[in-house]
């Protein structure tokens, strides 16, 4: 089921030259309606979007605009009310619960705003938890090295700072060598310096492993590190901008 992937060498400029055939995700006419009794909340009102192999996109929008809803649908956590989501040759919108679980397990790496580490496991064990069930993972140690945490592998989450916890979460997400890395406000709970550190790690993963990466943020400054910036407002894609030049996270200011 897994396709051979470029492990490295896929750089930003390669990814920038996408063609339709390189689309990893094809999203067509996706709507999401939450029903809360009498009230209907239209979180997504018809979204069409492609994500291309190896690219780094930033989904930018105000709070409540529907970013997380979209990302959750892409990641197989949620299903749209209408529309289709196709990942390579899988039609996610017609997959059942266990197929979605397998999809997440095999193809998707998640990074969340609140890290969501297992408090009873050390940094290393949190990553190992995933490498144990993955098909062709890199070693947990290697993954932690990549995020610059080789010194702290035996610490429990309660003994790590927020930024460190988030980096463990990233190591956990990338250790299985996912096809796509989905990050929902990864810096939302962090200060600027730590936030940049985390973004640098994500950028490094994207660059070195060529993992298709989507970062959600409401912080416009972060958009500058993307290949493409997808603006979302009130459940619709309002604009897609291709950056002519990607900035390094170091040089971002907010």
């Amino acid at each position: 089921m897994k396709e051979p992937r470029q492990r490295s060498g896929a750089n930003a400029s390669d990814a920038a030259a996408n063609t339709a055939s390189d689309a990893v995700f094809q999203i067509r006419g996706v709507t999401k309606v939450y029903r809360m009794g009498e009230v209907e909340v239209h979180a997504l009102k018809g979204v069409d979007l492609e994500l291309y192999r190896g690219e780094l996109v930033v989904l930018l929008g105000a709070s409540g605009s529907g970013k997380s809803t979209l990302l959750n649908i892409i990641g197989g956590l949620d299903t749209p009310t209408e529309g289709t989501v196709v990942y390579q040759d899988h039609i996610l919108t017609s997959a059942d619960e266990s197929e979605l679980t397998r999809f997440r397990r095999e193809h998707v790496g998640f990074v969340f705003q609140f890290y969501n580490l297992i408090p009873s496991l050390t940094a290393l064990e949190n990553v190992e938890l995933i490498t144990e069930i993955a098909e062709s993972p890199i070693s947990a140690k290697e993954a932690l090295e990549m995020v610059g945490l080789s010194e702290r592998i035996n610490h429990f989450p309660a003994q790590l700072s927020g930024g460190e916890q988030q980096r463990v979460a990233i190591a956990r997400a990338v250790a299985k060598q996912p096809d796509v890395l989905l990050c929902d406000e990864p810096t939302g709970a962090l200060d600027v310096t730590t936030g940049k550190l985390v973004l640098k790690v994500i950028e490094k993963v994207n660059r070195e492993l060529g993992t298709t990466t989507a970062i959600i943020t409401h912080n416009a400054a972060i958009a500058a590190m993307a290949d493409r910036v997808i603006h979302i407002g009130s459940g619709r894609i309002t604009e897609i901008i291709r950056n002519s030049e990607k900035k390094s996270p170091d040089s971002l200011v907010w």
Binding site: S68, L77, S98, N116, S120, L121, E125, I133, F156, A158
Partner: protein, 787 residues
């Protein structure tokens, strides 16, 4: 409704699963309390009423023969209220539908009517009338077991003469509430019964005109029993008195009293177990609730709710949570108690066994349940009360794990990640973990005790019927006979082997203590009746000296090698000093043994015998039985195998019912503990588990992680439960009256396996019920909120 009350209702609704599980445990605790306590009270009341209305005697004595005038002497003993002198005899009965002979205890009634002491309660038919000569009233259990009705006829050998007796009435007597043949362990109502006959009729058959061979009396208020017994013995001595005894040695009374004291012990222990578990469960649930509601509690306090308001709120919550359990428990207890009383009614024959629940029992149910709820709630309430408002509004700090005991052992290397999660969660709160395991272990212990009883009974039956009583038939003569009488039994059809025995009633004395015993003489090389130690060793009878069962030895305070005084209370009434040759640990009875030749020597008699044990050819049984029914010299026929069958038909069924109750009880505890534990683990770690679901773990994998903890606790509980069960079983062996039966401490493999197995299944089922909730976890919600 006040806002706090609304909150309480919603909290209760939100926690309904756990509240229900706790209520079930309370219900079982209250039910067992109500059932056993009420059964106990009802039995005591029925017995006491019966005793007082039907004038149950206080002192009993058998003797060889005394003139009526001696009764007046007895009446004159200070402290004696009423005296009834009577004639009691063993008779062999030939019942229409019973191939083997039955045994009757024939008791004379002074004049027509119900008798004055131990008087009869008529169930059916009529009482005896003055002119009745061949008419008898028979005991209820015997009548029921043999389907005898007034008007039916039974044949009986009375003092060597065959008589046809007509049943005119069926009655009960306080003397035979538990109707068992002396020397038996189980009642066999088919083959043993009581017959009451007019005194004149009995006297003429047994040549007892103006004489008696049995006397019962009541004591005046404040009279000293021991005193009266001593004086009575002195009066009866010249008349061949066998030694008088009080109620505590009276067979029926003793069995009833033993049952009552067991009931009292279990009626305390079992409810205590349940209410302890209740307290623990409420503690778990409320502590979790207070943690979840930290912010709300802080908020309430900042609004000005007092600590007392908050504390009372959680206390009320605890009490309300168990309220339903108490009510259900009282109902269930009433139903169970009625059933128990009915079961007791099958063995204990009361005129009326009214089952009722007294008001104090109901009140106590509330008091102890609410008390245990309060104990369970204390810690949670205290932590809620002591939260400072500002602190409370900060979210619960994240679970603080750090390298601890498990890491320091290096043990974690051997564990899978899932097991590591479980192990660390347990190690983080070791007290809670231990208490949970303890709770589960209680259910294992409960089953263990229940099954232990089967093991004990199995062992007793094995020892008694395979090793001790190996005869097919025991034949008792109506009076001591020369040795050749036993040898003549060989002539009877099918008899293959005859081993004579001698039994004399005697009083053993050592220092200031004395006991009435049946001193049994067996042939040392005998194979049909043997003395067996509790380790199954066969005890050889020494040619000289006396062998005492350890229970008897303990009650006399003697050990092997001591010299006891044997005062024989029949025949020429010799008094001898005899050395104790051995003290085997016998399971049953209060027997003393000697080699039959040594006993004959002691009695200064030739080869006298009281009866014989026979080994009989299977095919000739029927013929032998019909011969025995008509053999004048035979007054008693014992059939061990038949007694065993009758046990299997009656008592075994009762025990089966009890076992189902125990299994139910144990499952409720296991369910309550595991279900609540898993629900709380799910609540506490829902976020963690949902995150793992998001990361691609399947429901099944998550369930394993969640239940790993409960599984570990259950596993830990198994050895704990076994130890606890074993210890309690051992204690039970101390509680049961050793003079009735010394319960052997034997536990079968099945007891270990089933006690653990049933609880493991109950735990697994409750775990699975909780695990099904994993499917409904909201995966997205956990991503939105910080813990």
């Amino acid at each position: 409704m006040k806002p706090l009350s609304k909150k309480m209702v919603r909290d209760l609704w939100h926690l309904r699963g756990q509240v229900l599980a706790t209520m079930l445990v309370v219900a079982c605790g209250v039910a067992s309390f109500v059932a056993m306590k009420s059964t106990y009270e009802s039995l005591v009341e029925s017995r006491d009423n019966y005793y007082s209305h039907y004038r149950f005697a206080d002192v009993f004595a058998g003797l060889k023969r005394a003139p009526r005038s001696a009764a007046a002497e007895i009446r004159a003993i200070p402290g004696v209220a009423e005296v009834e002198a009577r004639v009691v005899a063993k008779v062999t009965l030939d019942l229409p539908d019973l191939p083997e002979p039955a045994q009757g205890r024939l008791v004379s009634l002074p004049e027509a009517g119900a008798g004055h002491l131990n008087s009869l309660f008529l169930l059916r038919g009529r009482l005896l009338e003055p002119g009745d000569r061949d008419e008898v009233v028979i005991s209820g259990a015997f009548a029921d077991a043999n389907r005898l009705q007034p008007g039916d006829q039974v044949s009986a050998v009375l003092n060597g003469r065959l008589r046809r007796l007509r049943v005119v009435g069926i009655a009960l007597s306080p003397e035979y509430i538990y109707e068992i043949r002396p020397g038996d362990i189980f009642p066999d109502n088919r083959r043993f019964g009581i017959l009451w006959m007019n005194e004149r009729a009995v006297a003429s058959v047994f040549q007892m005109e103006n004489a008696f061979n049995d006397v019962v009396l009541t004591l005046a208020p404040g009279a000293g029993e021991a005193d009266v017994i001593e004086k009575l013995d002195r009066i009866l001595e010249p008349y061949g008195g066998f030694g008088a005894y009080g109620r505590s040695d009276q067979l029926s009374h003793r069995f009833v009293a033993n049952e009552l004291s067991e009931l009292q012990v279990f009626g305390t222990v079992i409810p205590v177990i349940f209410l302890g578990v209740t307290a623990f469960l409420l503690h778990l649930v409320l502590t979790r609730l207070v943690n979840v509601e930290r912010e709300q509690i802080g908020l309430l306090k900042s609004f000005g709710y007092s600590n007392a308001d908050i504390g009372l709120h959680f206390l009320q919550l605890a009490v309300l949570a168990i309220f339903g359990g108490i009510v259900i428990g009282i109902g269930l207890g009433w139903w169970t108690g009625r059933g128990m009383a009915r079961l007791y009614g099958e063995f204990f024959h009361f005129p009326i066994l009214d089952f009722s629940i007294s008001l104090p029992v109901i009140l106590w149910s509330f008091v102890i349940s609410i008390g245990s709820a309060a104990i369970g709630a204390t810690a949670a309430v205290r932590s809620a009360v002591s939260l400072p408002p500002a602190e409370a509004m900060r979210p619960e700090p994240p679970a603080n794990f750090h390298a601890g005991f498990i890491e320091s052992t290096g043990f974690q290397q051997m564990l899978s990640t899932e097991s590591r999660i479980a192990a660390r969660n347990l190690a983080r709160r070791p007290v809670k973990a231990l208490l949970s395991a303890f709770g589960i272990s209680l259910s294992i212990a409960l089953l263990f005790i229940g099954f232990y009883f089967f093991d004990a009974i199995d062992r007793i039956i094995m020892v008694q019927f395979d090793l001790v009583q190996r005869e097919d038939v025991e034949v008792g003569f109506n009076e001591p006979r020369p040795g050749r009488a036993a040898l003549e039994l060989v002539e009877l059809p099918g008899v293959r082997r005859v081993e004579p025995y001698r039994v004399v009633s005697a009083r053993l004395r050592f220092a200031s203590r004395s006991r009435r015993v049946g001193l049994i003489g067996l042939s040392a090389e005998g194979e049909l009746r043997r003395i067996v130690n509790d380790d199954l060793r066969i005890v050889n009878l020494p040619p000289e000296g006396i062998v005492l069962g350890s229970t008897l030895a303990e009650s006399l305070g003697v050990a092997k090698g001591d010299i006891v005084t044997v005062e024989v209370t029949e025949g020429s009434r010799p008094v001898r000093e005899v050395a104790i040759a051995d003290v085997p640990r016998e399971l049953l009875g209060l027997s003393a043994y000697m080699d039959i030749r040594a006993l004959n020597r002691l009695m200064m008699e030739g080869g006298t015998v009281s009866g014989a044990f026979l080994s009989v050819d299977e095919n000739a049984r029927a013929e032998l039985y019909s011969k025995l029914k008509r053999t004048p010299a035979v007054s008693g026929v014992g059939l061990p195998k038949a007694a065993l069958d009758s046990f299997n038909e009656t008592m075994a069924k009762t025990m089966g019912t009890m076992t189902w109750f125990l299994i139910g009880f144990a499952c409720v505890i296991a369910f309550g503990v595991v279900y609540n534990g898993a629900r709380i683990a799910l609540a506490e770690r829902g976020r963690e588990l949902s995150s793992l679901r998001v990361l691609g773990f399947t429901n099944r994998e998550i369930a394993k992680m969640l239940l790993g903890e409960q599984a570990a606790l259950t596993l830990l509980a198994i050895p704990m439960g076994w130890v606890l069960g074993f210890a309690t079983s051992w204690l039970v062996t101390r509680v049961v009256d050793a003079e009735i039966v010394r319960l052997p401490v034997v536990v079968s493999g099945e007891t270990f396996i089933f006690s653990a197995g049933i609880v493991v299944i109950a735990a697994a089922v409750s775990g699975i019920i909780v695990a099904r909730r994993i499917r409904h976890m909201d995966l997205i919600a956990v991503l939105k909120t910080r813990e």
